[in-house]
Symmetry: C2
DNA sequence: CAAAAAACATGACACTTGTCACCTTCATTC
DNA sequence: GAATGAAGGTGACAAGTGTCATGTTTTTTG
């Protein structure tokens, strides 16, 4: 019997997947979580064989859950289940030791089979990721990312300088460098590009 | 037997919902669509009793599908099924004659029951929408919306003036008025606010 | 250890943005 | 028919943005 935990913030999808997987004779959904923290707690206490992790969840993301599980050397196999085929996400998932990276665009019939294959020791990755230019790694430094995130919230260079205890000019230098790296002509375009690539 | 069509672009959720609803003795999923155009075509040819429409789909949105069905006086009952409790979306859905507006955050068990209640002539709306300040209607004019959409793509005032055949100053006047209406301090904040409210 | 990369800074320049006052035209509405 | 509001416009000003050259100081890494 494969013991499964599902972490997904949309209750409708979570419930539907749980019903679907519970119908398989060799599977049992032992827990469900609606945010990352809940997922982490339940995985550590229930010790499922495998967990399905959505990435964009409240409190902590699925990628962070995976990274923390790896740090604690948890035995639970990890399958990331997400809408986004973003290079940055995929790279982080691989580094965090995920055994699978499936897109929510996959047909539902394939899910159970993918779980069985992962339990058999294989790696399962949606075809869109296998080809595709997933070898683009994040060109932004930590500081540049911090600043771009604040820009995305609508903060101005002056405000960012104040909150980060930097000079006005330094902030603008970082932004200029970021625009250059992303080939964006202004902040707004840069935000779009970074979000789309999963670099934020 | 209630004949159902599901329009949802995420194959995983679409498939899972179809399996779930097909298990109910009084329901039958007669069609599935992955984008708005497909949904519209299938509803007109298959004549289901009720359709579940996601809003953010490729080609045309679920709201547009609803509006076109209303214009053609189609008999099919409409249930909007979306992630977003945005006031602007809800208002458009009601105007398009939708019988239900459910959030994907609803527990999956409630879905079948909601469909039955809609078929019995009731209106089904997720509780978050019933209360909540959904009575905020879009303060932006058509022109202001057009321009804000272009801003969100990263276009500058000059570029927008060129594509819309307006003067540079006029574009900036519209933007200024938009910022004022949304109480935003700059374009980026304005985009965030408008998106969050469903006014874009 | 030396080189490279990251972090932080200054000053200057041109361009873009946001604001404001004020003006016209046209369609809708009371 | 006067009032309102949407659409379009001008010009001017202050503030914000993006670029560049150039510099110092740590931290990382081959």
């Amino acid at each position: 019997m494969i013991r499964i935990l599902i972490a997904e913030d949309q209750r409708l999808l979570r419930g539907a997947l749980a019903s679907l997987l519970d119908m398989e004779e060799d599977m049992e959904v032992v827990g469900q979580a609606g945010d990352g923290q809940e997922a982490l707690d339940q995985i550590l206490s229930l010790q499922p064989d495998v967990c399905l992790l959505d990435i964009e969840m409240p409190v902590i993301t699925g990628l962070e859950v995976a990274e923390r599980l790896k740090a604690q050397m948890a035995a639970c196999k990890i399958i990331i289940l997400t809408t986004f085929a973003r290079p940055g996400y995929f790279e982080r998932a691989v580094k965090a030791g995920a055994c699978g990276y499936l897109l929510k665009d996959e047909p539902s019939e394939k899910l159970a089979e993918a779980i069985r294959r992962v339990m058999a020791g294989h790696r399962e990755v949606s075809p869109e990721l296998v080809f595709g230019s997933f070898r683009q790694e994040n060109p932004l430094t930590a500081r540049e990312r911090d600043i771009l995130r604040l820009i995305a919230e609508g903060r101005t260079a002056n405000e960012i300088a104040a909150t980060l205890h930097l000079s006005h000019g330094t902030v603008r230098n970082y932004i200029s460098e970021t625009l250059n790296k992303l080939s964006a002509k202004n902040r707004i375009e840069a935000i779009g590009i970074a979000e789309q690539k999963g670099w934020l």
